[in-house]
Symmetry: C2
Subunit: 368 residues, 2 copies
């Protein structure tokens, strides 16, 4: 572990090891937040026929030629509601507030209407065969609505990744507190993974899309995770040039399942989850692999000092518009820096930090 | 409905009618995505005692004074793992790779260590009584981790809003397709609400935090929603100066439950959900009421024309960095505009649109 692998190399390892899983047809009702597995095209035109766009009276526009305030025309008309198919031999809708019917279903028209007026044309939303939603789209309510309008009630989405999680480290601080378990389960859930928990002894057998081991990654007497992986599979990276994750590692089980080792110190566990495990899980689920935060170019109001040779994550908080200041580091105040901050910056390994006034890219937790 | 209420007035009505619900204690394991109901302070210091920050040997720093390459000092030392409490009469940790123990548990030290070196001090993450997470925080994995480290396993969060949903409109286009139901259920779920579905006849009785009625809001023969509300409760707003939601409405049941009426046309249903119902549900759940999208100042590459007197939502797509172009309008291509676009702009009622080159605020669906 004396040779530390760069963040870039670990990221490349992850991008090589993790790809979108196979697909599964599920009910459209359950598809929000899932990644669409294949393009969906319109089977039929939407709408399938010409429809009224407003409530009113369906008429034949040609019959209205010559209508005027001094020449009201008496026209055959059919009461129609917005969304209903246009009746045969009609091609325009006179809005409800612009005419009244007599008991015989005729209206007096004081203005000519154009053919197609207030009609939603067949295929105007999408012609048959047109791409509705592309593969890889993370389905939101607007896509669900469009697909439902297209007549779909099932849709093929990328299967949810199954994550075998092992909390392997000793409890911190001599207390029986496991903060990594709840934190990782919430993180995996956010990224669309399904958690199956087990012990280190069972970690490398059976099926899963990723084995995630938190803790016991160091070289101390009680640290067994890296040795366990090396013993039953392959430990391919151990030691990362990252201040908050120097003991992280990667490898494969004998059966070929990728394994990620996250340090047990809570902050290092969080940071390496975000940078490594989250990326892996998002890739498996067919999602955008990048950090799920808002990236913005902002001005740093106080300097950040960072060790050369190691990538460093620094918690920041917003000040004025487009301005941030660093918080006391993760090393000093642990998870408090993550919880109290509005986001973070990533200081590359070849940088000693930045002076006040620098323009830097920050990741913000909120949509800001 | 001839007098249309401004978007601002509807928003003010919503802000007046909807407030954060009462709180409920739940397991920390289930708290991700929920709004914290009250400030949480540290009950004890974190960590509760001085701990080793790295794997190594716990020593008394004073014993190391005078150690040097030409004067190695033989010291009593206790092997310790990162996170373990410091043993009595020790105050520094010599990292594992800087010394070796002999069988008697002593190490040879070639450099003096400072008191506190590689020790995580009691209370360094948070002193007892310090605010850990503030009320109103939307709990993410990093907060869950911090609260777990503080020894909490339950936490008080704002109760999830119960939404009584009625799909009241006729099926569109003469087809038995309900696209509003799946779309609204996905939207309500995203905003943290719980859906209970019912018929219009049962909409105004029983308990709920919001009654949401989609469809039947117009003035046509088959439009019953507004009349039903006016008949059994109060219809306080009906008709909004919004291109994609002219028939929206607001009111209360006789029992005092707020009611929102969304138009049945799919695009109008989506837009009024986003602007009105989503805001109401986010307020009930103690979330940020603003649109859950990334707002950015961008340059418009083609003009947008919009009717004066009505707020207008225009779908847009990204072009170069910081540039957008408008898509064909919601009026022309319906939900397709929402599904195909990367976001939207809101053209105020007093604007006729903007020329190409204008700097405008756009809402983007992705974190971009």
């Amino acid at each position: 572990m004396k040779m530390r692998t760069s963040l870039q190399s670990v990221t490349a390892w992850i991008d090589d090891a993790f790809h979108a899983l196979d697909s599964k047809a599920i009910s459209l009702e359950l598809a929000a937040g899932r990644s669409l597995a294949a393009d969906v095209a319109a089977q039929v035109s939407i709408p399938p026929v010409d429809c009224a766009a407003v409530d009113g009276f369906a008429v034949c526009a040609a019959d209205s030629i010559g209508a005027g305030a001094y020449n009201p025309l008496d026209l055959a008309a059919i009461t129609i509601a917005a969304g209903e198919p246009m009746p045969p031999a009609t091609d325009a809708v006179v809005p409800l507030d612009q005419a009244e019917t007599d008991p015989c279903g005729r209206i007096a028209l004081v203005e000519a209407v154009a053919a197609g007026a207030n009609v939603e044309r067949c295929g105007s939303v999408a012609a048959a065969g047109m791409l509705l939603v592309a593969a890889g789209c993370l389905l939101a309510a607007r896509h669900i609505g469009l697909l439902a309008a297209a007549g779909l009630n099932r849709v093929a989405v990328v299967r949810r990744p199954r994550i075998r999680l092992v909390i392997a480290g000793r409890a911190r601080s001599g207390e029986p507190l496991d903060s990594n378990g709840p934190m990782l389960r919430a993180s995996i859930e956010r990224d669309g993974g399904l958690v199956e928990e087990t012990e280190l002894g069972q970690a490398f057998a059976g099926s899963a899309d990723l084995v995630l081991i938190a803790g016991g990654t160091g070289t101390g007497a009680g640290d067994c995770s890296a040795a366990a992986l090396a013993g039953t599979g392959s430990l391919e990276i151990h030691g990362v040039a990252l201040v908050q994750g120097e003991t992280a590692g990667c490898g494969h089980t004998r059966g070929g399942t990728p394994v990620l080792l996250l340090p047990g110190a809570p902050v290092a566990c969080l940071v390496t989850y975000e940078l490594f495990a989250g990326r892996a899980i998002r890739r498996l689920g067919g999602r955008d692999p990048e950090l799920p935060y808002c990236r913005r170019r902002v001005t740093l109001m106080r300097k950040i000092v960072s060790p050369i040779g190691l990538t460093d994550i620094c918690a920041v908080r917003r000040r004025g518009a487009g301005q941030i200041e660093p918080l006391p580091g993760y090393t000093e105040i642990g998870l408090m820096a993550a919880a109290a901050g509005g986001g973070f910056v990533i200081v590359p390994a070849d940088s000693e930090g930045w002076p006040a006034g620098s323009a830097v890219d920050a990741y913000f937790y909120d949509r800001g």
